[in-house]
């Protein structure tokens, strides 16, 4: 189609696109950071792995879209619908650019990573897997990359195998090599752990999957938010992530898939918008990506996500990752200085998150005390129960980082941890 005018303008950013990340200016874009939370304390937000904050550019783009182009996409002849369609497809193109994908038709909008992985499990899995086939996952996975495969395994009598971790908390590649074999049809792995922040060696793992002709599925929920993703070089078949973890809104996520696979696959959800022709007894499908987008999509969400992607690209993911690495090293150093802190995973480098416990304090108590000091952290199993079992614990306290965090945030965290220890007489 002939889209000459841009419907949703790219974000305007006040900070410099060169040199080290101008965090002070970036922080000014995030209205939540102005919140005063418990006990008159200003907010220290260390829960971005659960949900990142949204810059005003994204919030305003969505408001502007809803106030001016409120209409449904596809088929509409009138101006507003044409604009909405343009904006929605613009968002698809922006995500393609974010991922280094040249064919925007390979970008399928879904609600979240969970839906994306269910889509692959159902639409590809039901039709291509046979009794006895093996699926290789890891003990490090988020529940969303475990439970859908359990369901398919039950339905089709498949065998699930799980790559264990080494004592340092990394995937055990020797075991992976052993587990991925001739019967393996799918290898589905998390790119970056949402618990300990380890970045898995996808090239090695992809090679193992390729060697046996298995599909390689990547859960990019955390990696998409924190590092440069180039799907033209990361050799996988599907890549899934959620918008709200990468400065975008909730209710929108992405499944990228190879066109050839997507074209062969039957649809998952069915109904309006994904059909070509409907008769009473049977129907034919629209081409990819519409085939996988049944019903009216989250148009405004896609628009917001497109702007979030552009915002991150402007910051430059190599710059934000470097910034986060710095912060995390500082945080690990300061936590270790305190004593009595157990940090999970013995990693030389962490992206995005640190999981720890204060010896003698249950993580829920830790998180409550941190909260009362204005520090938003998370406690529990972080939707990775089996990973916690593998780490030999029930639960952990997690702090996670984004472009807008600073050393001051970490100093506040450390103060709060000291207070927790004091309260518990440790």
């Amino acid at each position: 189609m002939n889209e000459s005018k841009t419907v949703v303008q790219e974000p305007h950013c006040n900070w410099s696109k060169e040199g080290p990340l101008d965090v002070a200016a970036i922080r000014a874009d995030f209205p939540v950071l102005e919140r005063i939370v418990r006990n008159g304390k200003s907010l220290v937000y260390l829960d971005s792995a659960a949900r990142s904050l949204m810059p005003i550019q994204v919030i305003e783009a969505m408001k502007h879209f809803d106030s001016n182009h409120c209409a449904n996409v596809h088929r509409g002849i009138h101006l507003l619908s044409d604009e909405a369609t343009g904006a929605y497809e613009e968002a698809r193109a922006r995500i393609a650019s974010y991922l280094g994908v040249s064919d925007a038709g390979e970008i399928i909008f879904v609600r979240n990573t969970t839906e994306a992985l269910n889509l692959v499990a159902y639409a590809w899995g039901i039709h291509n897997l046979r009794s006895g086939d093996e699926i290789v996952l890891s003990v490090m996975e988020h529940h969303s990359n475990l439970v859908p495969w359990q369901q398919i395994a039950k339905m089709k009598d498949l065998v699930l195998k799980h790559i264990p971790i080494t004592p340092s908390g990394e995937l055990d590649l020797a075991e992976a090599e052993r587990l991925i074999g001739q019967k393996t049809k799918i290898v589905s792995l998390v790119h970056m752990s949402n618990v300990i922040g380890v970045l898995n060696p996808m090239d090695d793992l992809s090679r193992m999957a390729r060697n046996v002709g298995a599909l390689f599925v990547v859960d990019g929920s955390q990696s998409a938010a924190h590092m440069h993703i180039d799907l033209s070089s990361l050799d996988c078949d599907f890549f899934a992530f959620s918008g709200y973890k990468m400065l975008g809104p909730t209710g929108i996520g992405v499944l990228w898939g190879k066109r050839t696979l997507l074209e062969e696959m039957p649809p998952f959800l069915s109904g309006g918008s994904m059909i070509e022709e409907v008769g009473l007894m049977s129907s034919t499908w629209a081409p990819v990506p519409q085939k996988f987008e049944a019903g009216t999509p989250n148009i405004t969400g896609a628009v917001g996500l497109g702007i979030a992607a552009k915002y991150i690209q402007r910051m430059d993911r190599n710059r934000t990752l470097a910034h986060e690495h710095n912060l995390i090293s500082y945080a690990v150093e300061r936590l270790n200085e305190l004593g009595g802190i157990e940090i999970y995973g013995d990693l030389s480098e962490r992206a995005s998150a640190i999981a720890f416990n204060i010896r003698g304090i249950h993580p829920h108590d830790t998180a409550s005390i941190l909260d009362s000091e204005g520090v938003a952290a998370r406690a529990g199993h972080h939707c990775a129960q089996p990973f916690h079992v593998a780490l030999g614990i029930d639960s952990s306290t997690r702090v996670s980082f984004q472009c807008y965090n600073t050393r001051t945030d970490i100093d506040r965290l450390i103060e709060a941890v000291i207070i927790a220890k004091e309260i518990f007489g440790l």
């Binding site: 189609m1 002939n2 889209e3 000459s4 596809h74 088929r75 509409g76 002849i77 619908s81 044409d82 369609t85 343009g86 038709g105 059909i275 070509e276 022709e277 034919t284 629209a286 081409p287």
Partner: protein, 156 residues
């Protein structure tokens, strides 16, 4: 542009009296065009003799833009060589899809459809017949009765 400027007498005349709307008995080339989004469907019959379009006709129903486009198409390409037809197809699609200027010399009467460009949702109405012709003349295996499912992908 008000739509009075788009729906000219030429377009309305072709809409109301489409030329060459009939089946053909022994076509050498056939293609089906289908835009599932709006329901436009057409079948194009071509008789190619000695590299020339000896005869062309179509069946199908659609909106005024669509019908005028196919009707004028049949008039314009009859008698052209395949190379000339290819050039015309490219000029026409170029006029509506790319940002190029319309080549009035080549396109002649077809420039009446230029205004469609401003109506994104209607561009396919005008281009569908031309993609279908392209398929009929240059697609693979088009002499068979091939229901061209993939066509709308190219239109997207």
């Amino acid at each position: 542009m008000t739509l009075k400027d788009l729906y000219t007498d030429v377009i309305l005349d072709h809409y109301k009296n489409p030329r060459n709307r009939r089946e053909m008995e022994d076509p050498t080339n056939v293609a089906n065009g289908h835009n599932p989004l709006c329901g436009d469907k057409l079948k194009l019959y071509v008789n190619v003799e000695n590299d020339k379009i000896a005869d062309i006709s179509f069946i199908g129903q659609g909106c005024a833009i669509h019908t005028a486009s196919i009707s004028i198409l049949t008039e314009k390409v009859k008698g052209l060589t395949l190379d000339e037809a290819k050039e015309l197809i490219e000029s026409f699609i170029g006029m509506l899809i790319e940002n190029g200027e319309a080549d009035e010399d080549k396109l002649g009467e077809l420039v009446v459809l230029q205004g469609v460009k401003e109506l994104h949702a209607r561009v396919k109405c005008a281009t569908l017949p031309w993609y279908t012709l392209d398929l009929a003349l240059f697609g693979e295996d088009v002499s068979a009765e091939d229901d061209i499912k993939g066509l709308e992908i190219r239109l997207k």
